[in-house]
Each structure stands twice: as structure tokens, then as C-alpha cells.
């Protein structure tokens, strides 16, 4: 602050004897602390998963619990693999997720393309209907599916689950991909057709490569849905050999004996694939899912 006096602006100005804390810096500190608080609250459960997973067995039910793992025992990870059906469940989850996503993607890509290009007054209604499928609770969808699989003799099979997963993946992926196809101008395909390509050829060689990120995002979002499923597996399966990871890990929480380090270790291993894929493709997924939220 400069002091204005009759003798001139700087006359009489005193040099400051100590620096003043600006309110802007206080706000910056508060912002930083707030972000830190959010980080702690969000990451603590994940940290606790890891902490529990490497806690030695006889320390698990110790009170007070160790906040920092001073003794690390990584054997829970290997014992889960060796002594339980975890590898079977991991294989099941992988098989069912990948199969259903593969089928769903193929169908959805064609479906989304036709909905996007062949516009009629139906196509926006259909788009709403597809979005509406996200409204249907899994437990509601489970009921007719159970009846259908019962009639077809497919209960307690992995195939039933693969079909069930495609049932909700296809509408979801179609809706997502339609958005992507909508953003590609049809002039590109028309140009290809003028050059002699068939409509199918134009689709395969021009539009499809351009929606690469969209397809990746839809695939990953669908995979995340299938990987984390619990209700369909629980309703449609009974044999332990058919269980996916979600049901399998839950079975570790027994009536009397609960090995929390094994539960947390298997949970971490079951979560890792999803987190890795998610982090690698974060940008695409975020763009895909928020595209509908922000009008560009």
C-alpha cells in the first residue's frame, strides 16, 4: 500500500518491517489441506486393504490394530492361490467377462452404427429405451433370466452368466457407441462411397477405425460391469467351480472363522486388473461417460 500525501505519492511511505500474510496464500493452504483430507478419506480403505493383507495371521485380531504394518507377511497372497479355489474363480471371471464383452461389442457396434446413421423418428426413442435399461435393477432382470435359463437347462453354467452379462452390456455399449458414431460426420463415408466403396466397406474402413477410442471405452466400461457382478452369479450359479471372484471371495467370510488377510489379499488381486485397465484407459472412459453430461 502506498501512502499518498500532499507532497507526493511516495513521500512519507514507510518501509515494511515484516511481510504480511496475504489472504490468497491462506486460501491456497486451505485448498491444499482440503484436497489432502479428500485423498486420505478416499484412499484409506484401499490402504487398509493392503495393510490387512500383509498382516501376519496371529496379528489380525489384535487390539489395538497396527496402523502401519511393521511386520509384513505376504504369504496370504500365495496361500490364497495355493490352498483355495481362487485360481478357478479368477479363470471364471476372466472367461465370462471377456466372452460377454466380445459378443456385446460386435453386436453393439453394428447396432449403434445403424441407429446412428439410419435416423428415423424411432432412433431417438430407441436411444432413450437403451438408456432406460440402465434403470433396470440387476435383481429385477435376474428374475426372468432365471426362469429362461431354467427352461433351457442352463442353470449353474458359465454360459448362462455370459448370456446374462451380454443382456445388460449390449444396450449399454450400444448407447455409448451411438454417441461416438453420432460425432463422426457421415460425409466421410459418403466420400468413400463416391470412391466406389460399399456401405459396409465404408463402415469398416472409414468409420470403424475412427471410433477406436469409443469402442475401447465401451469395452472397458462393459468389462468393469461384468467383472464386478454379484447378483447374477449368485442367482444363477450354485457349484463352487462356476463361481466368479465376487462370490468366491465372499465365501471366505464364513460363519465362524474369517481370515481377513486372505480376504483382503484376494480382494486386492481381484481388484488389480480393473484398476490397471481403468488407469490405462481413464481418459477414454471419462470422456465416454461424461460426453452425455456436457453439451458441446
Amino acid at each position: 500500500m502506498t501512502r499518498h500525501t500532499a507532497a507526493g505519492t511516495l513521500a512519507g511511505a514507510r518501509p515494511r518491517s515484516r511481510p504480511r500474510v496475504r489472504s490468497r496464500d491462506v486460501w491456497r493452504l486451505l485448498r491444499f489441506l482440503a484436497i489432502l483430507l479428500l485423498l486420505v478419506a478416499s484412499l484409506f480403505p484401499i490402504y487398509w486393504m493392503l495393510n490387512t493383507a500383509i498382516t501376519p495371521s496371529n496379528d489380525l485380531l489384535r487390539y489395538p490394530p497396527r496402523l502401519i504394518p511393521t511386520q509384513q507377511d505376504w504369504s496370504a497372497f500365495t496361500s490364497v492361490f495355493r490352498d483355495t479355489s481362487f485360481p478357478v474363480w479368477l479363470a471364471n471371471s476372466t472367461l465370462m467377462t471377456m466372452s460377454s464383452v466380445a459378443v456385446a461389442l460386435v453386436v453393439s457396434t453394428f447396432a449403434a452404427y445403424s441407429l446412428s446413421r439410419f435416423k428415423s423418428k424411432f432412433s431417438s426413442i430407441i436411444a432413450y429405451v437403451l438408456l432406460a435399461t440402465r434403470m433396470i435393477p440387476g435383481t429385477v432382470l435376474l428374475v426372468p433370466l432365471y426362469m429362461i435359463f431354467r427352461d433351457w437347462g442352463l442353470l449353474d453354467t458359465k454360459m448362462a452368466l455370459i448370456i446374462a452379462y451380454t443382456t445388460f452390456e449390449i444396450p449399454f455399449a450400444t448407447w455409448m457407441l451411438k454417441g461416438y458414431f453420432d460425432s463422426i460426420p457421415p460425409e466421410l463415408e459418403q466420400a468413400a462411397e463416391v470412391d466406389g466403396a460399399t456401405p459396409l466397406g465404408a463402415f469398416l474402413r472409414v468409420s470403424l477405425p475412427l471410433t477406436g477410442p469409443g469402442i475401447a471405452a465401451s469395452a472397458i466400461a462393459s468389462a468393469i460391469l461384468a467383472w464386478g457382478d454379484y447378483e447374477f452369479a449368485r442367482g444363477l450359479l450354485s457349484s463352487q467351480s462356476n463361481w466368479p471372484l465376487t462370490i468366491g471371495i465372499h465365501s471366505f467370510i464364513g460363519e465362524h472363522v474369517v481370515h481377513w488377510n486372505e480376504i483382503m489379499a484376494s480382494s486386492l488381486m481381484g481388484t488389480l486388473p480393473v484398476v490397471v485397465i481403468f488407469l490405462a484407459a481413464e481418459r477414454f472412459i471419462v470422456a465416454g461417460l461424461t460426453a452425455g453430461a456436457v453439451k458441446s
Binding site: I35, L38, A41, S42, L43, P45, W48, M49, T52, L61, Y63, P64, V107, S108, F110, A111, Y113, F118, S124, I126, L130, A132, T133, R134, M135, I136, P137, G138, T139, V140, L141, V143, P144, Y146, M147, I148, T167, I170, P171, I224, G228, D229, Y230, E231, G235, T246, I249, H250, I253, S267, G270, T271, V274, E282, V286, L289, T290, A293, V294, K295
Partner: protein, 280 residues
């Protein structure tokens, strides 16, 4: 390609039609001979008079409202805090998205362990911080169990709200905010008169999706409490499961399901109507 589109719609339509069919037939798998009898609106009449149904509806509404509102507030705050681009905010943003990537049932397992009455870390920390004297019987009593279920859902929902609002904030015209600041507006005024209205579309979509997701939630709640204690955390979605796979009353469960679907539809239409722009 058109067959694929039709197939896509049929994949959804057929189960829904079958559910409607089931809701007007006996549908009791424990009584195979009467299972396919037509019963008209009997299931619907029954659920209107069923205290458990109304209780589950109430539980669902409170759960959805609490999760949506709180996760919205925190998500918006997180977006505002991380708006400015820097290495720190970029890393924080990625880290804060992690709860979303964790499968719902895994979140359930961790929260069951953290909120264990005797050995959980939550009671330990709360005692250390002097907040409680006696351990809270979290998942063993109705209200604390409900709180845990809501907390776990908020934890998983905040990232989505944060991400959509970060995208939304980027779409707010910077010139408008600059002009306001030049004119002497405080941060609060800038927020209230420019940013908040501009986020309207994002707000509606976020609230819609998180509410519908709350209506649908099953796995996370089920591994946390199984719907208990004493149905304290039994939402309609959970009740549909226990009616069908616990009591084999597929017809009755279908009726509840149809009611839930209609309620979701009404909510969606009502929410979308509040915005003047259309979505497609």
C-alpha cells in the same frame, strides 16, 4: 445392421415383458403346479398392503437421497478444488478416482472389516480421537448399519460426481468468469451467479445417474448387511432378491420389480423435464 439394433432392443424388451407376465401370474417356484396360474393384480394388491414393501421403499428413498446429496456435495467440492491444472491436481484427480474402480462388493468386504465392532479400525480410531467411549456395534444395529451402507456408497459415488463436474467446469465460458471478476465479483458471487447455473445440465445428469444407481444397488449392500439387521438396510432391490431367491415367490418379486421400474421411470422423466435442453 438393422437386425443388430433390433436385437439390442429385444435383449432388454424380452426380460421386461417376461417380468410383467410373471407379475400377473402365481410365479411361486415352490408350488410348481400353481406356478403358471393367472392371478391378475393379486400381487400388486398384496404389496400395497405389505408393511415390508413400504419399509423397503422408505429405506431405498432415504438411502438414495442421502447418498446422492452428500456425494454430490463432496464431488462438486472436489471438482472445484481440483479445477486448476497442475501436477498435484492431476495426480490427485487420478487417485480420487480409485474408489470408483474398486468393485462394489470389494468395497463391501473392506467396510465390513473396517467397521467390525470388536476389531475394526473405525472404532479404534474413534476411541483414540476421543469421539466414543464404547465401541459402536456398527453392522449389528439398525441405524449404524444403515450409516455404514450409506458411507460405503458415498465413497464409491464421489469420483463420478467429481469427474462429471470437472468436465462441466471446463465448459463454463472463461470470458464470463473473467468479466465477473473484473467487475468486482467475489468468488462466492462468481460461483453463485455464473458457475452454479452453468453446471445445470451436469447436475441433472449426475443426480439422475447416482439416484438410479442407488435404486439398483444390490451386491454392495448385500455383502455388507444382507439387508439386515432386521431389514434395516433392505432396499427394494434387495427385497426383490430375497423374495425371489429366498422365498421363491417369483411372481410377487416381479410385481415389486415392475413397481420399482415405474418409479424409476417417473423419477427420470421428472428430472429430465427440469432442464429445458433435450438429451438427444
Amino acid at each position: 445392421m438393422l437386425p443388430a439394433a433390433i436385437f439390442s432392443v429385444a435383449m432388454v424388451a424380452y426380460p421386461v415383458i417376461r417380468t410383467v407376465w410373471l407379475s400377473v401370474h402365481n410365479g411361486n417356484l415352490a408350488r410348481p403346479r400353481q406356478m403358471n396360474d393367472f392371478v391378475g393384480l393379486q400381487h400388486y394388491q398384496r404389496l400395497l398392503g405389505d408393511g415390508n414393501f413400504w419399509h423397503a421403499l422408505l429405506v431405498m428413498v432415504i438411502y438414495a437421497a442421502a447418498v446422492t446429496a452428500i456425494a454430490y456435495g463432496i464431488g462438486l467440492a472436489a471438482a472445484l478444488l481440483l479445477e486448476r491444472r497442475s501436477a498435484f491436481t492431476r495426480i490427485s484427480r487420478t487417485l480420487l478416482t480409485l474408489p470408483w474402480a474398486v468393485p462394489g462388493v470389494v468395497a463391501g468386504f473392506v467396510y465390513v472389516w473396517m467397521f467390525d465392532a470388536s476389531f475394526g479400525v473405525t472404532n479404534f480410531l474413534m476411541r483414540r480421537l476421543g469421539l466414543i467411549d464404547q465401541p459402536v456395534l456398527w453392522l449389528l444395529k439398525s441405524t449404524p448399519a444403515f450409516v455404514v451402507v450409506i458411507l460405503a456408497a458415498i465413497w464409491k459415488t464421489v469420483p463420478f460426481n467429481m469427474l462429471t463436474h470437472l468436465a462441466g467446469l471446463q465448459a463454463v465460458p472463461e470470458e464470463l468468469r473473467e468479466a465477473a471478476r473484473v467487475d468486482g465479483a467475489t468468488s462466492w458471487q462468481e460461483f453463485r451467479h455464473i458457475v452454479w447455473p452453468a453446471l445445470g445440465n451436469v447436475r441433472v445428469v449426475s443426480i439422475l445417474i447416482t439416484t438410479l444407481h442407488s435404486f439398483r444397488e444390490f451386491g454392495q449392500i448385500y455383502v455388507l448387511t444382507g439387508g439386515g439387521p432386521a431389514r434395516a438396510t433392505e432396499t427394494l432391490s434387495v427385497q426383490i432378491y430375497t423374495e425371489s431367491f429366498g422365498y421363491f415367490r417369483f411372481g410377487y418379486a416381479s410385481a415389486i420389480g415392475i413397481v420399482l421400474l415405474i418409479a424409476s421411470l417417473i423419477f427420470t422423466v421428472a428430472t429430465v423435464r427440469t432442464q429445458k435442453t433435450s438429451f438427444f
